[in-house]
């Protein structure tokens, strides 16, 4: 309490705090740091590296699908085993090792202390441990590709008995390592998530009421709470699955009264909220980026907040729509169909809020804004196609087809890739103190977005036409080898390769700008939130003077102000810097 009252007066505490860390060994600085910004960058770099692996897998199996049984350039011939392994690991990597670390961990770590006006996470060493555990889990996952038998190839959902018995999956060590890697990763994110929640709840700057918290922080916190509430059964399930694999138990084996359907429930009880765990941070970035580049107050802070909480709650009631036809009781499907379709209500409201924010605004089409706007447009496609899958009657046809994949990627690509790019390009000046190249960024944006639509639009149609997912070669199915289907697959695969190549632009831009880019100002966008009120990049300890918050983060173009922004920590007239009354 004592410390709290000191900080409440904005006292410049701990002078010389920054100087302590000058003479650090590079290992301590880059690998053993407790600084939330460094940990964020570690998460970011690990996530991007994993994205390269996952992306390469995507390219390989897409090529195999379009040109079956021919050697894939830069890879070779794809066997059924390696195909299964690659689709499994693509899903695992992209969700657990790219979307989660980048959106939740990297940006959560970077933004929460800066946005709530704290000097670090409340538990810096726990934070470091969280990254290290995550790193161990990534190493375990990659190691699992090279063990005898190869990596696990039973789809990222790992339905037993396939995943539980090595006589079925033929990957005795690969499947165990896969489960262990995923479970260890959950522990890492639980540690990180608790840190996020506690920091955002307890370490807010003096004066920051709960409606003054930037929505990016809110969203990451809601996502962490969801993660905390939903992951437990899957951690328990992973323990049970590892026991099944190695110790001869029969939790998921029907031979002795176990039940494979149980795993599906445990998995999707987590798996569905997980989609929203990564969606919410991305929506949070949008809520930051759209007001800044449209110079307008966010339409409906509370509407967005409550809709997100509503989405979070509702998402716990819908998981079995992934299992409509996989052996659950058909009567239960009716319940889940109803709840699933109802989730469109809060999501629609969130979209309305974003669209309404643009009304009578002044939009600058900068690169982060382009990414943010494309999120809205692309996510709409993903959102509306989800209704087809949630409606049980229609799902009978769509289940496990490429329609599902296309829908999923129209939600997940905006979330994981567009959201990450939006966040990265927006906060890059703050993170590295330099600007990204705008022109290169635009070229990269357009190529990525256009090729993305070329990848997945055709697959909606092949899905309707009966292409089932996870099938290594359609050549065995006479009905599926018609010229129109083949053409659609080829378009998609070539677009995948194009998109992959386009990412070279991003990485070139990223690394070039990190060292050679234009120097960034402290607040290049004239934004309001606290992270723009400290130097770029922020030093250890973040703020020279710990800020005090006076207002909500989205006060753009306030009529009483001459400048079109109003930083959260700027004292109101009369308390600090003075502004003549009636000057408007």
């Amino acid at each position: 309490m004592a410390l709290h009252s000191i900080t409440a007066h904005g006292m410049p505490e701990l002078q010389g705090h920054h100087d302590v860390h000058h003479e650090e060994h590079w290992f301590l600085k880059y690998c053993w740091s407790t600084d939330h910004k460094m940990i964020a960058k570690q998460y970011l770099v690990t996530g991007l590296l994993m994205a390269l692996i996952g992306g390469f897998f995507a390219y390989v199996f897409r090529w195999q699908l379009a040109f079956p049984n021919q050697p894939v350039p830069f890879f070779g011939v794809v066997t059924p085993a390696s195909y299964n392994m690659m689709i499994t690991q693509h899903g695992t990597i992209m969700i657990f090792y790219v979307a989660m670390p980048v959106l939740l961990a990297a940006f959560g770590n970077y933004l929460i202390p800066l946005m709530v006006g704290a000097d670090d996470m409340v538990f810096p060493r726990l934070n470091r441990a969280s990254y290290q555990v995550f790193l161990i889990s990534s190493v375990i996952l990659i190691w699992s590709f090279f063990v005898p038998g190869g990596g696990f190839g039973g789809a990222w959902t790992a339905y037993p008995p396939l995943s539980a018995g090595s006589q079925y999956n033929l990957t005795p060590s690969g499947s165990t390592l896969w489960v262990v890697a995923v479970a260890v990763e959950f522990v890492a994110f639980l540690m990180g998530g608790i840190n996020f929640i506690v920091t955002a709840m307890n370490a807010r700057a003096p004066g920051m009421k709960f409606v003054d918290v930037p929505l990016a922080v809110w969203m990451i916190v809601i996502a962490s709470v969801m993660f905390m509430m939903s992951v437990g059964p899957l951690i328990a399930g992973s323990v049970m699955l590892v026991m099944d694999q190695n110790f001869g138990t029969h939790f998921f084996d029907p031979r002795t009264g176990g039940d494979p359907v149980l795993w599906q429930h445990l998995f999707w009880f987590f798996g569905h909220p997980e989609v929203y765990v990564v969606l919410l941070p991305a929506l949070g970035f949008l809520a930051e980026i759209l007001p800044v580049f449209s110079r307008k107050k966010l339409f409906g802070y509370r509407t967005l907040l409550y809709s997100s909480i509503g989405t979070a709650c509702l998402s716990f009631f819908v998981w079995a729509h992934h299992q409509f036809i996989s052996g659950i009781d058909p009567r239960m499907a009716n319940v889940f169909a109803a709840t699933t379709v109802l989730i469109s209500i809060p999501i629609a409201e969130i979209m309305f809020v974003f669209i309404a924010t643009l009304y009578r605004s002044s939009i600058q089409f900068t690169v982060p804004m382009l990414w943010a706007l494309s999120f809205v447009a692309e996510f709409l496609v993903g959102g509306v196609t989800g209704i087809f899958l949630g409606a049980s009657g229609a799902d009978i046809h769509f289940h496990d087809t490429y329609f599902v994949l296309a829908h999923f990627h129209y939600t997940f690509f905006p979330i994981a890739i567009i959201g990450s790019f939006a966040g990265l390009t927006y906060w890059f000046p703050k993170m590295f103190g330099r600007h990204l190249n705008e022109g290169l960024g635009r070229v990269h944006f357009w190529i990525t977005i256009i090729s993305f639509n070329f990848i997945w639009m055709p697959l909606f149609f092949t899905g309707i036409m009966g292409d089932h997912r996870r099938i290594y070669s359609f050549a065995n199915f006479p009905d599926l080898m018609t010229p129109d289907r083949i053409l659609l697959r080829e378009i998609s695969s070539v677009a995948t390769a194009v998109m992959g190549i386009a990412q070279v632009l991003f990485f070139a831009n990223f690394f070039w700008s990190m060292y050679k880019g234009r120097k960034a100002e402290d607040n290049p966008y004239n934004a309001n939130t606290l992270e723009w009120r400290c130097p770029s990049p922020p030093p250890h300890g973040n703020f020279a003077v710990m800020p005090t918050v006076y207002r909500s983060p989205y006060e753009y173009n306030h009529p009483d102000r001459e400048v079109d922004f109003w930083p959260q920590d700027e004292p109101p007239a009369g308390q600090g810097e003075l502004r003549p009354e009636g000057a408007h």
């Binding site: 409340v122 840190n195 506690v198 307890n202 905390m228 059964p233």
Partner: protein, 191 residues
Amino acid sequence: MSGQIIATGRSAAGMPTGKLAVWMVIASEIPIFGGILAPYLMHRIGHPDWGQMAASLNVWIGTFNTGLLVTSSLFAMLAHAAAERGDGPLAAARLRLAAYGGLVFLCIKAYEWYAKISHDHVPQTGTFYGYYFSATGLHGIHILAGVAILLAIAAQAEKGKNLQRVELIGIYWHFVDVVWFFLFHIFYIIR
């Protein structure tokens, strides 16, 4: 290190940061234990024949273990009271007693496991034993972690440092206790 962090000292939510974190840990542990107990209950209700296997558990040992954990928790609580008075060494002594209680609990548990396994009641022989070993094992890991933290905090408390942590580990320790109430009744008592 962390002592220097201003953020750690703040309490905008109206409670100390450490305590908030402990409650967060507990809130996230509930679904983990729930995730193994809920499927167990489903299977148990669906398979009345599991009662034979449940009957093979030694309910006397289970009851004794329950008492042991409750007593251990009591010492954690008394340590808290001592810490409130600022009596570091007494708090440390009581924390150690609590930790020893946990250790004895683990030893008895190990004996119980050993007895089960030597009677060929291994996880492979029935899903009931699978659940029994997984759930008590998961709980045992929490006990083990709790003992380690108890001893570490006792070492600090002896020097009069970080006395607020005595309460924090106490909360966690009681939670582990509560989990055991459920495991005890669900596995041992209800047949």
